[in-house]
């Protein structure tokens, strides 16, 4: 069933905002951060207005209810990604912390000098810098699956590259190219090589129905603010057995079973990895975001984004021909709704600035993927990205805005 975007738009208060003297806000930067429906804001307000208390430690009823809401949120997250139980769901502040947790805890416990880890050339800095830090510290070897000429992940040398690695960590979808990577195939290759695999699903979980059992991954990370949820919360899911074995990362309250002045014992998972007061209201907001997305139905969300991406590529090409370049796969069904463009050699900063004047928000820059930008041979792209509240009129506004850009800089 197709999304009723006109109705959906009404759920997002920010889309009523007018900028630059009466221009409607055309938000095309959801790959950076999505907007939030009223239901999410209401859930957090209601939480603060009726229930807030610190969790896990309180006997009194609002603390008990806050704890229940927090744990219920994890149950929803687990269901949303097809995880067998909420025990594998750890809340972090964002997916960046989730990946750092993997590298600090699993990585430092298991990787020694010379051990190899396989990434891709398409990684967001979040799934690259933590590994580079470990490389400096330990002398591990990093290998990279390259990008192919058609912007897909080049698997030609997969067998050779995966051979002997201890860990594979890959993005499920490039935030620059929109490229979907073959996670299942990579998981198979990783496991055949005796390695574990982590998936950076920051751009995947919000848009495509996800099943960790199906994907056969060992770790999966994503971030609340890109999936209609609040800032301040991210998720690390991992197989229970892995979390059980892994040493603690951040130390503090909640994550202990006992503490003495000369030692301590860790709490059960997942709390072992949640030191200090967690993002409680944010967990409640994430619950509401998952409810909202589930009610829309992820299959419909995906279908909507594919068709909107197809429309955008078609209409921009019709209008601008060779003046427009798309950095990413040409087949909409093989990619996410993230469109990195080059336009007439105009700098992305200038494109974004002029578009802003028309109320159109697109991101200009390296999108936290500098190695990939170097590979593309550009220092920046202008990137439009779509979500449930975008429609063809938004794409048309982008197309019109490009015309103003051309007039000024062409």
């Amino acid at each position: 069933m197709a999304l009723d975007v006109a109705r959906i738009k009404k759920d997002f208060p920010i889309l009523d905002v007018e900028v630059h003297g009466g221009k409607r806000l055309v938000y095309l930067d959801s790959a950076s951060s999505s907007q939030k429906p009223r239901a999410v804001l209401d859930a957090m307000d209601r939480y603060y207005e009726t229930t807030h208390a610190n969790i896990h430690r309180g006997v009194y009823s609002i603390a008990e209810e806050a704890t229940r809401l927090y744990e219920e949120s994890k149950t929803k997250v687990a269901r949303f990604i097809g995880a067998p139980s909420a025990r594998g769901v750890v809340y972090t502040k964002n997916v960046t912390e989730a990946i750092n947790l993997i590298v600090y805890s699993w990585g430092r416990a298991n990787l020694r000098e010379g051990d190899a880890v396989l990434l891709t050339e398409m990684e967001h800095h979040a799934n690259l810098v933590p590994w580079l830090i470990l490389k400096e510290e330990r002398g591990i070897e990093l290998r990279f699956l390259p990008m192919a000429d058609d912007f897909s992940l080049d698997l030609t040398d997969l067998d050779r590259l995966v051979d002997g690695v201890k860990f594979v960590s890959v993005t499920a979808m490039s935030n620059v190219l929109g490229t979907l990577t073959p996670v299942r195939r990579l998981a198979e290759a990783a496991h055949a090589a005796g390695a574990l695999i982590a998936v950076d699903a920051a751009q995947y979980v919000p848009h495509i129905s996800t099943d960790v059992v199906d994907l056969d991954c060992d770790f999966l990370g994503f971030t609340g603010h890109k999936m209609l949820g609040p800032t301040g919360i991210g998720v690390l899911w991992a197989r229970d057995e892995l979390l059980e074995e892994m040493p603690a990362f951040l130390g503090g309250g909640e994550m202990i079973r006992d503490v003495r002045l000369d030692g301590w014992t860790p709490n059960e998972i997942p709390w072992k990895f949640e030191a200090g007061t967690p993002p409680i209201a944010e967990a409640v907001g994430l619950s509401a975001a998952i409810d909202y997305l589930s009610a829309l139905d992820l299959e419909a969300v995906r279908e909507h984004e594919v068709s909107l991406t197809a429309y955008a590529m078609r209409s921009l090409t019709e209008r601008y021909g060779d003046d427009i370049t798309f950095y990413g796969p040409s087949e909409p069904s093989m990619r996410g709704g993230v469109l990195s463009i080059g336009f007439k050699g105009i700098h992305p900063h200038d494109i974004s600035q002029v578009l802003d004047e028309e109320g159109v928000c697109v991101r200009a820059g390296h999108h936290c993927a500098k190695p990939l930008m170097r590979k593309l041979g550009v220092s920046a792209t202008a990137r439009a990205s779509f979500y449930v509240y975008n429609d063809e009129a938004d794409v048309d506004a982008l197309a019109d805005g490009l015309e103003s850009t051309a007039r000024l800089f062409g």
């Binding site: 009823s61 008990e64 229940r68 744990e71 269901r79 067998p84 139980s85 079973r257 006992d258």
Partner: protein, 162 residues
């Protein structure tokens, strides 16, 4: 909102005020196991003596805790004394079945099903009074502390090399 009378039943307060089988046993021959609730710091120590006939010959409880953990331990000690090891294990399963909150499980856990089955076969008697605890999720761990500790003590007492 459940009222306090669901939690603090008369019989529970009685066991709290007059704990049964309070004390220690020489270990060995008794098994001695410590249990621990990280939430509140409650501690329970179970001393368990299994006779040659495979029955709980004696049991003693020490440690400290809230009314729920204390009375649950007291009731537990009274209910397993004289029982066979298998009967005691069935009682533990039944008790934990009564205490389990199913809502937070995603999978139809087999343990739960087994616990529920055990519960229907075992006569709980006074222990039923603790059912009200389920409505106070934070306190469930108080109620199950001594039972989990008993399970370990049974394992220890019946281990091949014991």
């Amino acid at each position: 909102m459940p009222g306090l009378e669901d939690l603090y039943r008369e019989i529970i307060l009685d066991h709290y005020r007059n704990p049964r089988n309070r004390g220690e046993l020489d270990a060995p021959p008794a098994a001695r196991v410590e249990g621990f609730n990280p939430l509140c710091g409650d501690e329970v120590v179970v001393y368990l003596l299994v006779g040659g006939d495979g029955r709980v010959a004696d049991i003693r409880i020490s440690g400290q805790g809230c009314s729920i953990s204390q009375s649950s331990a007291s009731m537990m000690s009274a209910s397993v004394k004289g029982k066979t090891v298998d009967e005691a294990r069935a009682l533990i399963r039944a008790f934990k079945g009564m205490m389990s909150i199913h809502e937070q499980r995603l999978d139809g856990s087999e343990d739960d099903a087994a616990d529920a089955a055990a519960q229907s076969e075992v006569k709980m008697g006074d222990l039923e009074a603790l059912q009200g605890v389920v409505k106070f999720p934070v306190r469930i761990k108080c109620a199950t502390l001594s039972w989990n500790t008993l399970a370990q003590a049974l394992d220890e007492a019946t281990a091949p090399n014991a």
